[in-house]
């Protein structure tokens, strides 16, 4: 069998189809550049033009991505990026998340005296990083996208620059994130050393061809890459940064991190992971070792995230632990994906739902947050339903959804995820997962108790304030989606279904000559 190489497309001579695939990227990039330019004029007196520009750019990106969903997969830039349905969905998800965050954060920033136009630009650039990352099949590209995303977010986390907590969160995230990136990069270097390529799919095929199932270099490299990802999704024991960072970051940024950022990392992980397992690149022992690592990691993550959340009194910090717990559930799906009939569809679906409900929840949290992100202690929320019944209702729905109670989307997603894990034979992991979600229900319900079952406490920071309309609109939209996907998820499931042929690894092996 002749060695497989990718047929490179004509350099910089992009076909119309490839150009179409790149349009959303141009939109976001152009939008952020334009916003930067505009902000020069508006540095002293910020107006609505910058966020509007950014949002328009996001919407443009979404609009140009939509027609691409049904397009056949295409390779871009010498196979460093892959454009397929999966990419399209991922991009839409990131853009929606970024747009929503932008939409509801303006009022928040105004309230906090943080109205700096860089905020929007950074969101846009971070979104661009996600889009690149999710489309990458090359480790270098993944690294680039990841860094673009992360560096923007480092800044965003420390955006309340006069606030010690925000600063601390920024610096912690920065140090740990960079270190993790370095580990991941080291893994990429080892991967390159073992396979002679930084392209994941090509590398996987080479690994088969050269019989590297037991190659220590390759395995060590993959482990390092995996650990880099585990850090980003905050899997135990790489989760420690997340609560601190979530708590310190401004509320909309936390929202952005738990939705866009997390989705991006998971989708990328899915792509890398599935490209390694959809072809048996590794020996059975190696696969088993990887699975065991993931098993333990998933179990620990679910358990620790849920139990630690029980102890929290700050809603942002609580949602951070909740986010860790959800990463654990997703790891269950990831682990089960290869053996399950539905492949990684369940994981993808879960990511989508998770993004929607967290967007909504953080929209509400951002709306509630008072100056300096105060008013987010649980006690401050007492009796919220009496003064703001609508807001309380929205938050309650999101919390029920996160707890996985029907008829919300959170239930459907969990259902699908655990169902596919059962198909993969992970019965005990699923048992553990459901027990953990029972524990988890407690802290979500605790918030609802505050909202509905307690009287307002005198002297709470939440005395006279009105929630922003943008936030409520965002949350309302999210609620509609959460209920719709909870009650009638069939269309969405059909849409997001990844048959075995459409594994997120993309069509690379099929594209490659010789197949």
């Amino acid at each position: 069998m002749e060695p497989i190489t990718l047929t490179p497309p004509p350099a910089f001579g992009l076909t119309a189809q490839q150009l179409a695939w790149l349009t959303p990227y141009f939109f976001v990039l152009g939008g952020s550049c334009l916003a930067l330019l505009l902000s020069v004029y508006e540095a002293t007196k910020p107006s609505i033009s910058v966020p509007a520009t950014i949002i328009l750019a996001f919407l443009g990106g979404i609009a140009t991505t939509l027609p691409l969903i049904e397009q056949p997969p295409t390779l871009l830039f010498g196979g460093m990026l892959i454009a397929d349905g999966f990419t399209a969905y991922a991009n839409i998800l990131f853009l929606i998340s970024a747009a929503a965050v932008t939409f509801f954060s303006r009022r928040y920033l105004l309230n906090q005296d943080l109205e700096h136009t860089e905020f929007y630009t950074l969101i846009a650039l971070s979104a661009l990083g996600m889009m690149i990352m999710a489309a990458s099949t090359d480790l270098v590209m993944i690294f680039l996208g990841l860094e673009l995303m992360s560096i923007s977010v480092y800044v965003l986390v420390g955006f309340r620059r006069n606030d010690r907590r925000s600063n601390e969160a920024g610096i912690k995230y920065y140090i740990l994130g960079s270190a993790a990136s370095a580990v991941m990069l080291y893994g990429a270097a080892l991967f390159f050393g073992a396979t002679g390529t930084t392209n994941v799919q090509v590398g996987a095929i080479r690994a088969i061809q050269m019989g590297m199932g037991q190659n220590a270099l390759l395995i060590a490299g993959l482990l390092c890459i995996l650990i880099g990802f585990l850090f980003k999704i905050a899997s135990v024991p790489f989760h420690m940064w997340m609560p601190d960072v979530y708590e310190g970051a401004p509320a909309p940024v936390t929202g952005f991190m738990t939705t866009g950022l997390k989705a991006a990392v998971f989708i990328t992980l899915l792509r890398v992971f599935s490209s390694m397992v959809s072809v048996p690149a590794l020996s059975p022992q190696a696969m088993e070792a990887f699975q065991n690592v993931l098993w333990v990691s998933a179990a620990l993550t679910m358990f620790l995230g849920n139990v630690a959340a029980l102890q929290q009194t700050n809603i942002k910090r609580m949602l951070a632990y909740s986010s860790i717990a959800h990463s654990g559930y997703l790891l269950v799906g990831l682990l089960a994906g290869p053996q399950s009939h539905d492949g990684f569809s369940a994981v993808l679906f879960y990511v989508v739902i998770y993004t929607i409900m967290n967007l909504g929840a953080f929209a509400v949290v951002s709306a509630i947050a008072q100056k300096g992100d105060t008013g987010l202690e649980l006690n401050d929320l007492s009796g919220l339903s009496a003064k703001h019944p609508g807001l309380a209702f929205l938050l309650a729905v999101f919390l029920f959804s996160m707890a996985g109670i029907p008829p919300t989307a959170g239930f459907t997603a969990k259902y699908y995820l655990f169902y596919s894990a059962i198909q993969a034979g992970q019965v005990w992991l699923v048992v553990l997962a459901v027990l953990c979600s029972a524990i988890g229900a407690y802290y979500y319900l605790r918030v609802i108790v505050q909202l509905y079952m307690r009287e307002a406490i005198a002297g709470s920071p939440l005395q006279n304030w009105k929630p922003s309309r943008a936030a409520v609109t965002t949350a309302l939209a999210a609620v509609i989606l959460v209920l719709q996907l909870g009650i009638y998820p069939a269309p969405a499931l059909k849409m997001l279904r990844l048959g075995p042929a459409e594994a997120p690894a993309g069509g690379a092996p099929a594209e490659a000559p010789g197949h």
């Binding site: 960079s178 370095a182 050393g193």
Partner: protein
């Protein structure tokens, strides 16, 4: 000149990498920590170059360029964060930065 064997270089790279990692773990001054991270990244760069040379494949060297750029950007942002931190906290000692916990 006898070429240094590849495994030796790789071990050297790994050593540098872990020295960087150790620096991140041990040093209390954030600036030194950032420098340690740079060290880790440079160890990676060296690894890539070594592999590139050993495999006679340009990809590795190409990647190094990207990494150098990213590392520079990262340091810039990191220093910005450190300055902001110093403004509010008046310290760059990691032990002093423990507001967020629990």
């Amino acid at each position: 000149m006898i070429p240094v064997p590849v495994p030796v270089i790789l071990s050297f790279c790994a050593a540098i990498f872990f020295i960087g990692l150790a620096g991140v773990l041990i040093r209390r001054n954030i600036l030194v920590v950032i420098m340690s991270i740079e060290l880790m990244l440079n160890a990676v760069n060296l690894t890539l170059v070594t592999f590139s040379a050993a495999l006679d494949h340009p990809h590795g060297q190409m990647a190094v360029f990207f990494i150098i750029v990213v590392a520079a950007v990262e340091s810039a942002v990191g220093l910005g964060l450190v300055i902001a931190l110093f403004r509010t906290m008046r310290t760059v000692d990691t032990d002093q930065i423990q507001l967020l916990k629990g």
